[in-house]
């Protein structure tokens, strides 16, 4: 090993080593000559005797050198040096090729990093492969019809499965206990988790909201992770009436307590209940939901302390807990699946109350759990794969483009290569030389690509995280990703290097040496045809890929434009939003309403605030439903509610069509005043005057409401969906238990965000335990709800632009090369009277044919891909004529631009010069 290192060092010091060896041998010669002289020989005789003794000096040197170098390495150095020299002489071409490849690789690495983080990576726990997740599936369930399905209450999400049925990973708690009992022979542990949302953690008087997870007592033991400090939960912590204890993440411990060990034993208040932090999770562990890092873990059974009342632990028809487990060594997932699905089937049959429910019972399967729970996965899987497909296309284009440029360049070097072949260079050696050149290019671009990827990952993290407060992505370029990129760059090097290398070294020496440009001899013509075919094929492929990207960019841009042009019915400009949750922070529920009223008045008095109001949510994120009865009859359909404070409509600038809005004096009204939307009035009071009518709300928010006004349409809920009929009720009369977080809206003069410190100060003065969260402008809030569309439109637009540039350069290169090759022919044509216009047309005709072929190729592909893209579009079809027309028009313009310069050059060829060149 040390010998190898020494050789490597010698090899690096090659030149100096060489000089030293020469000196050493010279010394030997002079010594020897000296000796011969002493023995009586003449000066010149002595010298030649010494020379004879040494033998062939060059060979000695060669033999010695063989000790410190070895040939392949030496040749590689030569090749690399030569490649760099060649790249330097064709600077523009090399730079462009490297740039487009770097972009392709960088984008691919960045997107792949996300896919790896969110979709592929296993949880950082020992033996993640033996983890499992429980899932159930059922036949389709008709929504809204009760007594047909055992799932009667839910906290969590169900999904539509691929066969049209329902699937979900949430279970009633009795099912968790049943599975814990019946799985013992197969699973070493079964544990449950429940999303905790954001909890208010008060440390030394400082309140902060953080993402939390409820976990059952066996959670950490099941994951088999060691504590980073202190201890993790044991079963006893998750008992009714146990000491309230919490575990926090390493990052959170560092941030809030300075260092990991400091956190252990600290008393904190979580949602105003006292907890002791008993331990810290190990560094790198961020929960079982990739991409949604959790900072706080509390036992399941402390839910009653933290949340008032959470989902029931005993109700067998209330689905909410997610279940994971770990296979015992030697047990396969199939075995566990067979046993547990039977156990679950038996149990779930006992929860059915009717024949209809018995006819469609959920069926349990044991899924692979190495990647953890996959809530985020569902949300990001499709957009990420779409982006990966897009950047994959870019990389393909970049490769095609580089191959094209190299092909053109190697054709220009045909003569050089012919000379080298004819003086005895091996074909293999030459191919290796040419491949080295493309590999050097690939490595250079790969390195630049990694730099781009690192920057790209950061930008993408920021883009994706925008407005998505559940997303805490820690995507970084990791080794897997680096290896994939390196693999990509190397295979690209081979792919785009091999074809030109094989073609140019095909031994056709005579015509090349004669300096003919290939049009004169039959042999050369034969070799030209496949090359042009390859080159033309590459251009067609580039055009086809470009059309796909352009159409995609057009579709996403139009989708975004459609979403942004939806009439909101309120003015989102110059409004500051922020949220406060007083009851969660420990403020007495009974007086929360008056506390919010007090804050409202103080905010309204801030200089620069023109109007202020409060509601339970911002408009684009609103979505609250409770059953409403009119004259004792439940209203049918999908209506929604909004708890609002005084001045809501004037602050939002929503016109009132009849009656009045909710005002300050309504705070003490005995019957809650309400305003209904125009759609609500039309749906439930058609032809009647709704003012003065009474509605009674039930469910979790029982109260009477008297309608005092009708408002114009204002968009309620995500802009992507139609606005439902809305009833706005005064929050002052809302039952205390139903009044939680409130979102304030301040219409301001100047920059809304400049008021943030004033707002914080006011809240701090009233109650320092209460954090103010989610500062945002109203416009920013709306943007965050259509974040996915914005990202897709921006990224796809940017990628399409890049692709356009790449394709233009490719076309330009191809054409410039073709014109250069045909100089003589064009010269003759001009000499015998061809007009410049017809020469231009002759050159551009070829490109037009290729462009048309490219468009024709892309259309069937676009059609095949349209089904995949459809779900990302809003109010438009994948074959949107505008998008396609714009894409084709962009292509035509780009083609014309790219081909005009070479065509014009062709038309200006001077026949005399062209022919004299022969």
């Amino acid at each position: 090993m040390s010998s190898l290192l020494k050789r490597l060092r010698w090899w690096l010091q090659g030149t100096r080593k060489e000089a030293e060896l020469r000196e050493e041998l010279q010394f030997h010669l002079s010594q020897e000559a000296e000796e011969q002289r002493v023995q009586g020989l003449r000066e010149d005789e002595a010298r030649s005797a010494a020379q004879r003794d040494l033998g062939n000096e060059a060979r000695v040197r060669e033999d010695v050198r063989a000790v410190w170098t070895w040939r392949p390495l030496e040749e590689l150095t030569q090749d690399v040096r030569y490649a760099i020299r060649t790249m330097a002489t064709h600077r523009a071409v090399s730079l462009f090729a490297a740039f487009s490849l770097a972009l392709g690789m960088g984008a691919n690495t960045a997107i792949y990093s996300f896919i790896d983080t969110v979709l592929l990576r296993s949880l950082p726990v020992p033996d993640a492969e033996s983890l499992v997740v429980m899932t159930w599936r059922s036949k389709p369930v008709k929504s809204g019809e009760a007594d047909e399905f055992v799932l009667r209450d839910i906290s969590g999400s169900t999904y539509r499965s691929s066969d049209g049925g329902v699937e979900a990973r949430i279970f009633p708690y009795p099912a968790v206990e049943r599975l814990q009992e019946s799985s013992t022979p197969f699973l070493s542990s079964v544990f449950a988790v429940f999303r905790g949302g954001r909890m208010n953690v008060l440390v030394d008087g400082q309140a902060e909201l953080t993402y939390a997870q409820y976990v059952s007592g066996g959670f950490f033991r099941g994951l088999a992770i060691p504590p980073g400090a202190g201890r993790l939960f044991v079963e006893e912590d998750d008992r009714q009436g146990a000491e309230p204890v919490a575990v926090i993440s390493a990052g959170y411990a560092k941030r809030r307590f300075g260092a990991i060990p400091n956190a252990v034993g600290k008393q904190v208040r979580i949602n105003n209940a006292s907890f002791t932090i008993v331990g810290v999770t190990p560094e790198g562990f961020e929960g079982v939901e990739p991409g949604a890092a959790k900072s706080l873990y509390v036992p399941m059974r402390s839910m009653s302390v933290v949340d008032g009342d959470g989902p029931s632990f005993t109700n067998p028809n209330y689905y909410w807990a997610e279940i994971m487990g770990r296979l015992r060594p030697g047990v396969t997932r199939a075995q566990a699946n067979a046993a547990l699905s039977t156990a679950f089937a038996q149990w779930v049959a006992t929860t059915a109350a009717s024949d209809a429910e018995r006819a469609n019972l959920p069926v349990l399967t044991v899924d692979d759990g190495a990647g953890g729970l996959d809530t985020l996965r569902r949300r990001y899987e499709k957009p990420l794969y779409l982006l990966q497909a897009i950047v994959g296309l870019i990389l393909l284009m970049a490769c095609a483009n580089t191959a094209n440029l190299l092909l053109a360049r190697s054709a220009a070097r045909q003569r050089e290569i012919a000379v080298r072949l004819s003086i005895g260079a091996g074909r293999f050696r030459l191919i290796r030389q040419l491949l080295t050149e493309s590999l050097v290019l690939a490595v250079v671009s790969g390195t630049a690509g990694i730099a781009l990827a690192i920057a790209g990952t950061r930008v993408l993290t920021a883009l994706l995280a925008n407005g998505d407060d559940g997303l805490l992505l820690e995507a970084s370029v990791n080794w897997t990703v680096l290896l994939v990129t390196m693999g990509l760059s190397l295979s690209c090097g081979l792919v785009f290097g091999l074809a030109p290398a094989l073609q140019t070294t095909r031994p056709q020496l005579i015509p090349a040496l004669k300096g003919s440009d290939g049009t004169a001899t039959i042999g050369a013509r034969r070799s030209r045809i496949p090359r042009l075919k390859l080159q033309q094929g590459l251009v067609v492929a580039q055009v086809a890929l470009l059309i796909l990207l352009l159409v995609g960019a057009g579709l996403f841009a139009r989708t975004l434009a459609n979403l942004q042009s939806i009439p909101l019915g309120f003015n989102p400009e110059g409004v500051l939003l922020f949220s406060i949750n007083a009851p969660q922070a420990g403020y007495p529920e009974a007086s929360a309403a008056s506390y919010y009223a007090q804050l409202h008045d103080q905010f309204a008095a801030i200089p620069g605030v023109r109007a202020a109001t409060v509601s339970h949510s911002s408009m684009p994120r609103a979505g609250r439903g409770h059953p409403i009865k009119l004259n004792g009859m439940p209203l049918q359909g999908k209506y929604r509610l909004m708890q609002t404070g005084p001045r809501f409509f004037s602050t939002m600038q929503i016109p009132l069509l009849a009656g009045r809005e909710i005002e300050e004096r309504d705070r003490t009204a005995s019957v809650a005043p309400g305003v209904i939307s125009e759609l609500f009035a039309r749906t439930y009071f058609a032809g009647q005057d709704p003012i003065g009518r009474r509605l009674s709300i039930g469910g979790g928010m029982p109260m009477e409401v008297e309608i005092v006004g009708v408002s114009a349409a204002a968009h309620y809920g995500p802009v992507r969906y139609d606005s439902p009929p809305v009833l706005y009720v005064s929050y002052s009369q809302v039952p205390p238990a139903a009044l939680q977080q409130m979102t304030f809206a301040l219409r301001t003069e100047g920059d809304p965000m400049s008021l943030v410190p004033a707002v914080r100060q006011i809240v701090q003065n009233t109650d320092s335990r209460i954090p103010v969260t989610d500062f945002k402008t109203q416009a920013g809030e709306i943007a965050s709800t259509i974040n996915q569309e914005i990202i897709l439109a921006r990224l796809c637009g940017a990628f399409a632009l890049v692709a356009l540039v790449i394709a233009c350069a490719g076309l330009y290169g191809t054409l410039a090369y073709a014109v250069a090759r045909r100089t003589r022919e064009i010269g003759i044509r001009i000499a015998i009277g061809a007009k410049p216009g017809s020469v231009i047309w002759m050159v551009m005709r070829d490109v037009c044919v290729l462009a048309v072929l490219g468009v024709l190729t892309s259309l069937p592909i676009a059609r095949a891909l349209s089904a995949f893209v459809k779900s990302f579009l809003f109010e438009m079809q994948p074959n949107d004529p505008v998008a396609i027309t714009v894409a084709v028009a962009a292509l035509v313009v780009a083609t014309l631009l790219a081909s005009y310069a070479p065509a014009r050059r062709a038309s200006r060829i001077d026949p005399v010069t062209a022919l004299r060149n022969e």
Binding site: S2, S3, K6, R7, W10, E20, L21, E23, E24, L25, F27, H28, S30, Q31, E32, E34, E35, D53, L54, G55, N56, R59, V60, D63, V64, A66, V67, W68
Partner: protein, 118 residues
């Protein structure tokens, strides 16, 4: 590249290495001195070919058995002096014992066998 030469070097490599290491045992020497020393001590029986001496020296250096340093020779010229390293000494010892047993074995084999026969 002459393949025949390669094989000749192969043939005497072990021996030449052994000779060089042994020569360096009393103290450092440059290439020419090493060649002359071997020649003289073996009464010109063994001619060291310069063509194989230098590659051998570099090989030994790569193995870490000798170390080289540029120094003034007794005539004031710069020369490359080779010195045996501790690792080289160990190598020499083991090679020497191998050589000794080889010689002993050969001697036993070639000894007239008459008296010892049954």
């Amino acid at each position: 590249m002459a393949r025949t030469k390669e094989s000749r070097v192969e043939l005497m490599r072990g021996t030449l290495d052994l000779m060089i290491l042994r020569t360096l045992l009393p103290g450092p020497a440059h290439g020419h001195a090493i060649a002359k020393h071997i020649q003289r001590t073996t009464d010109d029986l063994l001619q060291v070919e310069t063509g194989s001496l230098y590659p051998a020296l570099y090989r030994l250096e790569a193995q870490g058995w000798v170390a080289a340093i540029w120094e003034k020779s007794d005539k004031g010229k710069r020369a490359r002096f080779y010195r045996i390293t501790p690792k080289g000494r160990k190598q020499l010892a083991s090679e020497q014992s191998k050589w000794d047993s080889f010689v002993r074995a050969m001697a036993t084999l070639l000894k007239p066998t008459g008296e010892e026969g049954p």
